[in-house]
Point group: C2
Chain length 216, copies 2
Amino acid sequence: MYKLYSMQRSGNSYKVRLALALLNAPYCAIEVDILRGESRTPEFLAKNPSGQVPLLEVEDGRYLAESNAILWYVAGGTPLAPDTRVERAEALQWMFFEQHALEPNIGAAYFWLSLVRGGRDLQTHALEDWMERGYAALQVMENHLKTHQYFAADQLTVADIALYGYTHVAERCDFDLATFPAIRAWLHRVERTPGFVSMDWRPADVEDPASIAAEA
Amino acid sequence: MYKLYSMQRSGNSYKVRLALALLNAPYCAIEVDILRGESRTPEFLAKNPSGQVPLLEVEDGRYLAESNAILWYVAGGTPLAPDTRVERAEALQWMFFEQHALEPNIGAAYFWLSLVRGGRDLQTHALEDWMERGYAALQVMENHLKTHQYFAADQLTVADIALYGYTHVAERCDFDLATFPAIRAWLHRVERTPGFVSMDWRPADVEDPASIAAEA
């Protein structure tokens, strides 16, 4: 059985839990609250020197980091992974896009504006860039979804799960999806998939938000 | 034969050319000078709506974007791809790390400080963040390389090629690798691989650098 170290309110962690739920794969979940420093303990850093969640134990003492690499691993050989070489590469294309165009902007905005109470005042200097680049990423997704039901292989794959993680919280951190009808339809399509589970997005009470790295 | 749209001086484009050279794979290279707007023409945008290089034509009229997805595609079934499921996931772990921790910082610094004449003055506000986060990424790599020759599967894989792309130009954009001996040894190890080719890093003369998006 998989052992997954994750945080309920982290979008990157949620991606993995969503994939495992859709696959109906049993796993042991260990909650790591990065907002309370639990990913910075010597015990956790021994497992993942970068101090980030999610983290999957794939064998005794062997750990895999990076949410999208974990998605790729757990989806191998399942219906969530495309069948052909070119479709697998197209799924990865969107997963790399997610990590450099979507997550650093909408993910960062979600973390500071929605998750951390008082976070908005600490990040006013960065917000304009996040909004501009986040909207640019959403437009690329919208253009694709105008003519496709899913991102790769004409079916729900790990690419959709990766992109769903932060797109579905965009409206909780100042983004407005009113002019992105294809994205909204796709969000609902993902949510109607059998086995779908939702994310826990309760805001956190953090005593010292300035001490938190934007790693969720 | 592959048809590759790329720019000689782009690190993301270079990764793909390096992989194809190491594989001794013939390909047709089409130079796209993004500094002169050639990735923003209607003809190019019809191939890749995001207007970025590299771009690989995998079949007539079917294109693959994102440097690391292209690497994964061309390396499939070759010695540059790990054999086992867990090692493939570990290679992807480092490739996702490259796209969110290394490329947005060292790649951006390289583009503006080294490639675009006059670019430094336009990016003074961002440079401090790029340096701090770029050094943090280098430290993660150094820690891994203290006990490993390569990033995954104990052999040269696409993970090394992805990370080599911008690490090897770090010292051309204000980073100092003096305190990263394991990284310097690894750079030389990659460069001694049979078939290795180097990148073209001549600075560009750009009439209007402010008009350029940091997409190289």
